[in-house]
């Protein structure tokens, strides 16, 4: 957080400032959480008024869950995979991607519509614009999960590793959502145009999600591709989520590997977001 426009502790209270002081001295100290929450509320209201984002957060993930289960359950069972248990982490990851794509479009709209320029001249925490988007995104992902987990349970998914692991499952999804959406926000600001943001969001989404072990096992891929599939971050997140929902699985290693991807990426995207917001384009 960068307290822009403040000069030391004196600016935090509202005592009248002597004439002749720089006008910036009168501005209150920005509060990252408050500013983020305000902007997050704005994004959530915008999402709630758009049928597309409701379809994207609730209907599409449901439809994909049912379709993948219907189409590939029998072939996967032949390959020895309990697809209900296998599929739920995949569709949750996919829902996070949908949220990220929507975040990129919202971010591009803010950049194109001038809101970003307006925010830049307000005494707000510099990280609040990205923070606001991320708060809204995490809420949206939680809504998707609340819809998807019961559907998964009807199909046969179980949190078989206990309550603590289930909480870890939700926490990893949350961290993944924050990381991915931070990347997508940077992408949206860079694109600067909603249409371009949507197109580039898809360019990221398809290869990352479909060349992972999310929907099918890594062993099914061609030999030359398999090492890439096994080691890319989406696979690592899916591995962690599966370990946290499978009875008797070793959780420490997959979770640590996933964190090893997510934490540095989050730092990188956070830095890029702050830099992008700070620059005039």
């Amino acid at each position: 957080m960068t307290p822009r426009g403040t000069v030391g502790a004196g600016a935090a209270d509202s005592r009248p400032v002597p004439a002749g002081t720089a006008p910036t001295a009168r501005l209150p100290r920005p509060l990252l959480l408050l500013d983020s929450a305000l902007l997050g509320g704005r994004h959530l209201r915008l999402m709630g008024r758009r049928p597309a984002s409701i379809v994207g957060a609730i209907v599409l993930p449901m439809v994909f869950t049912l379709l993948f289960f219907a189409v590939f359950q029998r072939p996967m069972a032949r390959a020895g995979v309990d697809y209900a248990q296998y599929l739920l982490p995949a569709v949750i990851i996919q829902a996070v991607f949908f949220t990220g794509g929507a975040a990129a479009v919202l971010a591009a709209e803010d950049a194109a519509g001038g809101l970003l320029r307006r925010l830049r001249c307000l005494p707000i925490a510099r990280a609040a614009p990205v923070g606001g988007l991320l708060i809204a995104d995490v809420v949206r992902v939680l809504i998707s999960m609340v819809v998807l987990i019961p559907i998964g349970m009807v199909l046969g998914f179980r949190f078989a590793a206990g309550l603590i692991a289930a909480a870890g499952f939700v926490a990893v999804v949350g961290l993944f959502a924050v990381t991915l959406c931070a990347g997508y926000v940077v992408l949206g600001w860079w694109a600067g145009r909603p249409e371009g943001a949507e197109a580039s969001a898809n360019l990221v989404y398809f290869p990352l999600l479909l060349l992972s072990n999310a929907f099918t096992t890594a062993a099914a891929f061609p030999d030359w591709l398999e090492p890439v599939v096994r080691n890319q971050p989406i696979t690592r997140v899916a591995d962690a989520l599966r370990a946290l929902s499978t009875a008797g699985a070793a959780t420490a290693r997959p979770v640590l590997i996933a964190l090893g991807w997510l934490v540095p990426l989050l730092l990188l995207f956070g830095l890029l977001a702050a830099r992008t917001f700070g620059r005039r384009r």
């Binding site: 189409v71 996967m76 949507e198 898809n202 891929f221």
Partner: protein, 263 residues
């Protein structure tokens, strides 16, 4: 009114102008380019890489390319037609359509431009997907005549579907709403077909859906035209679907287009 009247509209020339307009707009709309070319290409690559060995453990990756390619052609066509429907909606509500109506042009030109423009875009989709498919191992085992049929079947279906998309676009109250729901509906018809897996691998409740699904008919017709087999049944039912969609939806589209006329 002045004695000098405007030149009589020439339907063919005006249609050509509007076809050019559709093609230009399609080329410059990222989502259209994406769903017409990128989506089927990436799905052909990734679905083959990920599910070939699951769907048929004994087959090769090239076998699955031969199996799944028709579905991806159809998906490219239906999902990009959706963007044309949206474009028709936007033209109607953004004022472009009002502007066209003030010009001395043939009344049929805007709709003809859309449908023919879609057909050109669909041809690009088929050619791009087949070209990549051949690189990945797609082969025709039939006569030249059947191969021509292989290309014609999705294009004819594409005309019917383009009419459906335009009819929906012209009648819809809001574009965004219709787009996102149709998107979900198109996923359902694409998946619950015999495109990704054989019918006996679908669950019992989905098999009758796949049986009557027009996507299955088009896919099966393309498969038999490329690799041989009983072509008559699927070919007939995909032609029935295509002409049915064209007949019903073109009437609906023209009617709602006319209704906007006096303003």
């Amino acid at each position: 009114m002045s004695p000098r009247t405007a030149a009589r509209p020439n339907a063919v020339r005006d249609a050509l102008v509007m076809i050019g307009h559709s093609v230009t707009v399609a080329r410059r709309t990222p989502t259209t380019v994406l769903s017409a070319t990128f989506l089927p290409i990436i799905l052909l690559l990734t679905m083959t890489a990920s599910f070939a060995k699951i769907v048929n453990p004994d087959g090769s990756y090239a076998d699955y390319v031969n199996w799944v390619l028709p579905l991806l052609v159809v998906m490219g066509i239906v999902f990009s037609s959706l963007t044309t429907g949206i474009a028709a909606h936007q033209d109607l509500h953004s004022g472009l359509d009002d502007r066209l109506r003030t010009l001395p042009m043939a009344r049929s030109a805007p709709l003809v431009g859309r449908i023919v423009g879609d057909a050109i875009r669909n041809l690009v989709t088929v050619l791009v997907v087949v070209a990549l498919g051949v690189v990945l191992g797609f082969r025709f085992d039939t006569s030249l005549f059947a191969i021509a049929g292989f290309f014609a079947v999705p294009l004819v279906f594409g005309v019917g579907f383009a009419w459906l998309a335009v009819a929906v676009g012209l009648r819809a109250a809001t574009a965004e709403n219709v787009e996102s729901w149709l998107n979900a509906a198109l996923l359902v018809v694409s998946f619950l077909s015999t495109g990704f897996v054989p019918q006996h691998d679908l669950p019992g409740w989905a098999q009758p859906i796949a049986e009557v699904n027009p996507v299955s008919s088009v896919v099966e017709a393309m498969r038999t035209l490329a690799h041989g087999g009983a072509v008559a049944g699927p070919l007939l039912s995909s032609l029935v679907w295509s002409t049915g969609l064209t007949a019903v939806c073109s009437v609906l589209a023209v009617r709602s287009y006319r209704r906007r006329a006096p303003r």
